[in-house]
């Protein structure tokens, strides 16, 4: 929170001509995109189109992959996150991520949520408040408040995923990336997560990768369609689904391939 005044008109995330290679294989081709504050942006496209690769650039999770090379710029709140003076650890505090498979740590429910704040040096006496707040925001407080000490692995899949969201919220990020967060969940759990994401929009900027086009249509303000590493079309979700400009976008959303 270095900048005292946030320029509201400025996009929070600005991607400029992003290219990415895994070894010889180019996985992203000249992708540019602007994402504004407190919006939900959905990224859709067939498997292997580069949407997950793209989202993992935004918090530099691709750094973990060998032979991954990146060109272009990603500005988050005006700062190039691939710049030389960027602390990746600080970046990831600001840009949280929820993964495809619910993956709570093998610890208690409480410890899962307290994990991030604890390591970031939050006072012991403030911890209870943070944990409760995060669990409430992730809509799982009611189900867990009486058993915070039990193992997170005793929760159902949908509950585990909401716990993972709470774990991410506890670090107080400003952007949350969701990488197919409901693909391992049943329809009821999925609906709960979708409601949750729409609520979170008030306080966070959200980017979500999804295989489920109905999901993109239901919850997002903007949608980007990826194909073979290229961002084919990026517009308001309404536009994309009702009046796509590109033939391939139309083919994909009408289910002709993918």
């Amino acid at each position: 929170m270095t900048e005292a005044v946030q320029n509201v008109s400025q996009p929070q995330i600005e991607v400029q001509n992003l290219n990415l290679w895994y070894g010889e294989k180019q996985a992203l081709k000249n992708v540019s995109m602007q994402i504004s504050r407190n919006s939900v942006t959905a990224l859709i496209g067939p498997s292997g189109c580069g949407k997950s690769t793209f989202i993992r650039c935004l918090n530099r999770m691709n750094d973990l992959i060998k032979n991954c090379r990146i060109e272009g710029k990603i500005l988050i709140e005006g700062k190039d996150i691939y710049g030389p003076d960027v602390d990746v650890v600080e970046l990831r505090k600001k840009v949280g991520m929820v993964f495809q498979k619910p993956n709570p740590f093998p610890m208690s429910i409480y410890d899962n949520v307290a994990y991030g704040p604890r390591i970031h040096g939050v006072n012991k006496k403030d911890l209870n408040g943070i944990v409760e707040q995060a669990l409430r925001s992730a809509a799982i407080w009611e189900e867990t408040s009486d058993r915070l000490k039990s193992s997170a692995l005793s929760l159902s899949g949908g509950q585990q995923q909401r716990l993972c969201i709470a774990r991410t919220l506890a670090v107080k990020p400003r952007i949350i990336l969701f990488d197919e967060p409901t693909s391992a969940l049943d329809p009821i759990s999925t609906a709960r997560i979708e409601d949750l994401i729409m609520n979170l929009k008030k306080d966070y900027t959200i980017v979500i990768v999804t295989h489920n086009m109905q999901q993109a249509a239901r919850i997002s303000d903007y949608t980007g369609f990826f194909l073979s590493g290229e961002l084919i079309e990026f517009d308001q979700t309404r536009q994309i689904f009702h009046n796509p400009q590109e033939k391939s976008t139309e083919d994909y959303i009408t289910g002709r391939f993918g």
Partner: protein, 285 residues
């Protein structure tokens, strides 16, 4: 070929069962043999007294003390070193030629005969570092001997920790080392403990490496520092059985010594099972 699959199944099943029975049978026979022969020798005096009358009577207390000192000494060195090396190899070192060479070196170290370790310990610790024949020299030599076992076991344990734990911790803005310290290592501890216990068995049982580095034929008193020579159970057993003053008269003492050695190793295994179960329960539900 002419047999139907049912008959084949029966033959395979009988052969496999037979093999299992033979193996189990041998273990049970050895255990029973040592237990029956050594049981009579065991007494409070045997466990707490010094040997006397030229080692044909009295107890094996100094050998028990020596073996326990070796276990503690070698584990103090090998466990942190081995676990740290495993963390480096598994979490930090990428796949490169150097890593491959290190892994090869560790594999070769694991296959080196223990007597070679003994000679090496003699040259390096006893002579070059001038620790003399001592608990220190012997513990360091044994530590080298078990390092590959501990590194291997720790690497295996780290490999079984799901990558999702690492990713989701890093995604929370937690540094790599903190991720290892607070998520990866706790999840790997049961595996690390299991591997380390196997190596304790080695430490307790090895004779060759301590032969050159500090084990004494007989000592009239307990070691008073890590620079003292010591007696140890396996070497004491060897001495009694091959070079003692009266080999046939000390037969029951020999089996008693073997039994005590066995009990120490089994006892340590039991402790490891308890630790492992404790951590497993903590990790699961």
């Amino acid at each position: 070929m002419g047999l139907n699959s049912n008959a084949n199944e029966k033959i395979a099943f009988s052969l496999l069962t037979l093999a299992t029975l033979i193996v189990t049978g041998f273990v049970l026979v050895i255990l029973a043999y040592i237990l029956l022969n050594g049981y009579g020798a065991i007494s409070i005096e045997f466990l707490t007294q010094m040997p006397n009358r030229m080692m044909t009577a009295g107890g094996i207390f100094p050998a028990i003390v020596g073996t326990i000192a070796l276990i503690i000494g070698s584990m103090l060195v090998a466990l942190p070193l081995g676990v740290m090396a495993a963390i480096y190899l598994n979490e930090y070192a990428g796949e490169s030629r150097t890593t491959w060479l290190i892994e090869m070196a560790i594999n070769n170290l694991a296959g080196t005969p223990s007597v070679v370790f003994g000679l090496f310990g003699l040259a390096l610790f006893v002579k070059y570092f001038d620790f003399g024949p001592s608990i220190l020299s012997a513990s360091l030599t044994l530590a080298l001997l078990i390092l590959p076992i501990i590194i291997r076991a720790s690497e295996e344990a780290l490999l079984t920790v799901p990558n999702e734990y690492r990713e989701s911790s890093l995604a929370l803005g937690v540094s790599k080392w903190q991720t290892i310290r607070y998520v990866v290592l706790p999840a790997a501890i049961p595996g690390i403990v299991t591997g380390s216990v196997l190596s304790i068995g080695r430490v307790a049982g090895e004779t060759a490496p301590i032969l050159f580095t500090g084990a004494a034929y007989f000592l009239p008193r307990l070691p008073d520092s890590i620079y003292s020579q010591f007696m140890a159970l396996p070497y004491h057993l060897f001495v009694l059985a091959t070079a003692g003053t009266n080999i046939s008269e000390t037969r029951s003492i020999q089996y008693g010594t073997a039994l005590v050695l066995l009990i120490i190793v089994l006892g340590v295994n039991l402790v490891a099972v308890v630790i492992r179960r404790h951590y497993r329960n903590k990790l699961k539900i």
